[in-house]
């Protein structure tokens, strides 16, 4: 580094530090960072309506699921071998998930989740992620370790949850 460059760098540092004393943060638009991901993770109800939009950002989704997986959730990995393109029943040591066609309406399916054990975690959302595409749905209240919700077969969520390569998180 030339001396002139070093002086210039010091000049910048002195000026920026001096300017920062009166700088207003009103225009600061925080970039995506871990803090923001934590904020969403710790306040699921607050971000309930925005989470699907947020999960469209692949970097956000990657960080979010990393935190979700490590900080406590109920999880099912991808299926190692599946006989069909679509899977309607999955089971793990933590929960069973079943996708059942409605008798009345052929486009409608029920997602039935059965927890194997009691859990102290607040279970608010059902997340599905496959090949960097992720979505979530708000869960109804568990009753006797069982929850049930409706989806339509033209919903992206349906495609994802029935895909054997999808990872499923409940939290």
């Amino acid at each position: 580094m030339e001396i002139k460059d070093s002086i210039s760098n010091t000049f910048l540092a002195l000026n920026y530090i001096s300017l920062s004393q009166n700088y207003s943060s009103s225009i600061t638009q925080a970039k995506l960072n871990f803090k923001r991901v934590w904020e969403v993770f710790l306040n699921p109800i607050k971000y309930q309506d925005k989470i699907n939009e947020m999960l469209k950002d692949k970097v956000f989704a990657k960080a979010y699921f990393m935190i979700l997986q490590n900080e406590g959730c109920i999880y099912q990995p991808k299926l190692r071998a599946a006989s069909n393109d679509k899977v309607f029943f999955r089971s793990s040591s933590e929960f069973k998930i079943e996708i059942v066609k409605s008798n009345k309406n052929k486009n409608v399916y029920y997602i039935i989740i059965n927890l194997i054990n009691d859990t102290k975690l607040p279970l608010l959302n059902l997340y599905v992620i496959c090949d960097n595409i992720s979505e979530s749905k708000k869960l109804p209240k568990f009753n006797n370790k069982r929850a049930q919700m409706i989806i339509k077969d033209n919903d992206n969520f349906f495609d994802l949850i029935t895909n054997p390569n999808t990872e499923i998180f409940i939290r």
Partner: protein, 572 residues
């Protein structure tokens, strides 16, 4: 509609995108919070230090240390994402717990072990490294940070970590290198550097502090009209401000950089820098405005804001410039005088232009009839006299309150004979006091005033001072010596009268308690600093300039020549 920025009100020098981006990064880090929404980095100075580390491109060693630190944490199942909402102390607590369970030891450091490689990281370094990590996330983004964590997880040797660290440094370098050259400040900095080279007519000239002289600053201001249009510097005050900061940068760098011979190879260059050197360098950048004069000024200013008027508002306005440039003021007294006088004149010109009634000839004529430099010196002298008077009043308050602290200042009110007696008294007392016998009278008082860094603990020091005061009180009032202090007692009588008739808003200090006495001492010391600094400034100015009257006349012609170019010519 665009939001209004704080710098929109500036008449010139607008911050543009690169400058805002950097300030936003800094702002984000300063305001980062931990998981319970308390400030993550409690020590703002440390944040500034790391910020300066990045801006001066000295970040490689810190990034390398950060990689080692992350490897240690990953080895101990502390993921990187969790660090982003933890303060330094919280990480220390977590690591201490791990250390005590795994190693069954209490230590002030952790040791990363990778095959044969061992590296110690002290706990005191944690917060610094966390700030470095936060800046990295700001500069290179979340995605890169996650990739870094994945790479660090896999490494098995120190060499691999070094490679990762080098790659991160390159990314930071590339980010800043793309951002900074278009910054306004960077362009001004280049303009000053290039102007120095142009003035010396030597392409290989090594820039030194003396290059920035009073004449240089004036010439730079005038020459700025020929710079690119958006770099025109209209006010002399801004030109001087930029040049004075540049001068300070040269001085800070002189101690740090010039001593290093090889500066071509960045890696080799960084290897030559010790942590201590780097820390001292960064410290000198962030403590730029922590001069004793600035602290004194801030003290009096804060009291003024709290409606305790020690000095008047206009007096504080006159001193502000000295508190901004501190010691640089004494190196370039003429420039500071020019800022005070012509900065003020230029403000009035700008105001007249705004009101559309500007006539520079009238201004010039009126200035030709006055002696602004002498007037300004008189203003400063009157502040000195006023400070002296207020110090006397404060001294009397201490005297009246029978405060042992009078011993710190009493010498200023003795005549020569009284001073000799006082010094004899101190010599005698030294044997009675439990203090270092090698201390002379001055250092004995300094020790008792806690002016020395390694002073004794407060309570003990106060006890010593109280004992000394009791002895002194007995001494000065004794039949044997009382008559020898006639001059001093006359002064007390005089100042007692003046004190009783002295009225200033908020000025009280009558309560006889420790807080009040300490406050009087603080204010007294602050005024003393301001007074002595101003006296030094006036002395230097008189030494540098033979005749202030003639100098003002010369400057008046020069400044108005440029004012005409700036304000009478369309398009500039």
């Amino acid at each position: 509609m665009r939001e209004k920025y704080f710098f929109d009100d500036w008449r010139e020098f607008s911050l543009q995108k690169p400058d805002q981006v950097l300030l936003n990064h800094l702002e984000t880090i300063k305001n980062n919070t931990n998981y319970n929404e308390s400030l993550k980095h409690q020590n703002v100075k440390e944040v500034y230090k790391v910020f300066a580390l990045f801006l001066t491109h000295n970040y490689s060693p810190a990034i390398y240390q950060l990689c080692l630190f992350l490897k240690y944490l990953i080895q101990n199942d502390i993921p990187l994402y969790s660090l982003m909402i933890m303060s330094g102390n919280e990480v220390i607590r977590k690591v201490k717990k791990i250390n005590s369970i795994k190693r069954k030891q209490i230590s002030n450091k952790v040791t990363l072990e990778l095959r044969d490689f061992k590296f110690d990281i002290t706990y005191s370094r944690f917060s610094y490294l966390l700030i470095t990590l936060d800046f990295l996330e700001e500069f290179i983004g979340l995605e890169e940070i996650m990739l870094i964590e994945e790479s660090i997880k896999k490494v098995k040797s120190q060499n691999e970590l070094q490679t990762i660290s080098n790659n991160i440094s390159k990314k930071v370098y590339s980010y800043l290198k793309n951002l900074l050259p278009s910054s306004y400040l960077q362009r001004y900095s280049s303009a000053i550097g290039n102007f120095i080279i142009k003035k010396t007519e030597n392409e290989n000239h090594k820039i030194v502090s003396e290059d920035i002289s009073d004449d240089f600053i004036f010439d730079f201001w005038v020459a700025s009209k020929d710079f690119e249009k958006d770099l025109l510097i209209k006010t002399f005050t801004l030109a001087a401000d930029l040049c004075l900061t540049y001068k300070k940068s040269i001085e800070i760098n002189k101690n740090f950089i010039v001593s290093l011979k090889s500066q071509n190879d960045q890696e080799q260059y960084l290897n030559l820098i010790s942590d201590k050197m780097l820390d001292e360098f960064l410290e000198s950048i962030i403590t730029y405005d922590e001069h004793i004069l600035s602290r004194s000024f801030q003290k009096i200013m804060r009291m003024n804001e709290n409606k305790v008027n020690i000095l008047k508002k206009n007096e504080l306005g006159e001193i502000e410039i000295f508190s901004k440039y501190n010691d640089l003021t004494l190196k370039l007294p003429l420039t500071v005088l020019r800022i005070s006088v012509f900065g003020n004149i230029q403000n009035k010109i700008v105001e007249s232009q705004r009101r559309k009634n500007l006539d520079l000839n009238i201004y010039y004529e009126s200035m030709s009839k006055v002696q602004k430099y002498n007037d300004q010196i008189q203003i400063l002298e009157s502040i000195v006299n006023n400070s002296t008077f207020i110090c006397e009043i404060l001294f009397y308050k201490l005297w009246f309150l029978k405060s042992p602290e009078i011993l710190h200042f009493i010498k200023d009110y003795f005549n020569e004979d009284e001073l000799i007696l006082f010094e004899h008294f101190l010599v005698e007392q030294k044997t009675k006091l439990d203090c270092d016998p090698s201390l002379d009278e001055i250092n004995l008082l300094k020790e008792l005033a806690k002016e020395n860094i390694e002073s004794s603990p407060d309570e003990y020091r106060e006890e010593q001072l109280t004992n000394l005061y009791k002895e002194f009180n007995f001494f000065i009032n004794s039949k044997k010596f009382n008559s020898n202090f006639e001059n001093f007692f006359d002064f007390i009588v005089k100042i007692k009268k003046q004190s009783s008739s002295f009225r200033r808003s908020g000025f009280d200090f009558n309560a006889n308690n420790k807080e009040n006495r300490e406050l009087i001492v603080e204010v007294y010391n602050a005024l003393l600093e301001i007074k002595n600094f101003l006296l030094k400034f006036i002395r230097l100015l008189n030494k540098d300039i033979n005749n202030l009257e003639t100098k003002f006349k010369e400057d008046n012609i020069l400044f108005f020549q440029h004012f005409r170019l700036l304000y009478e010519k369309e398009g500039i």
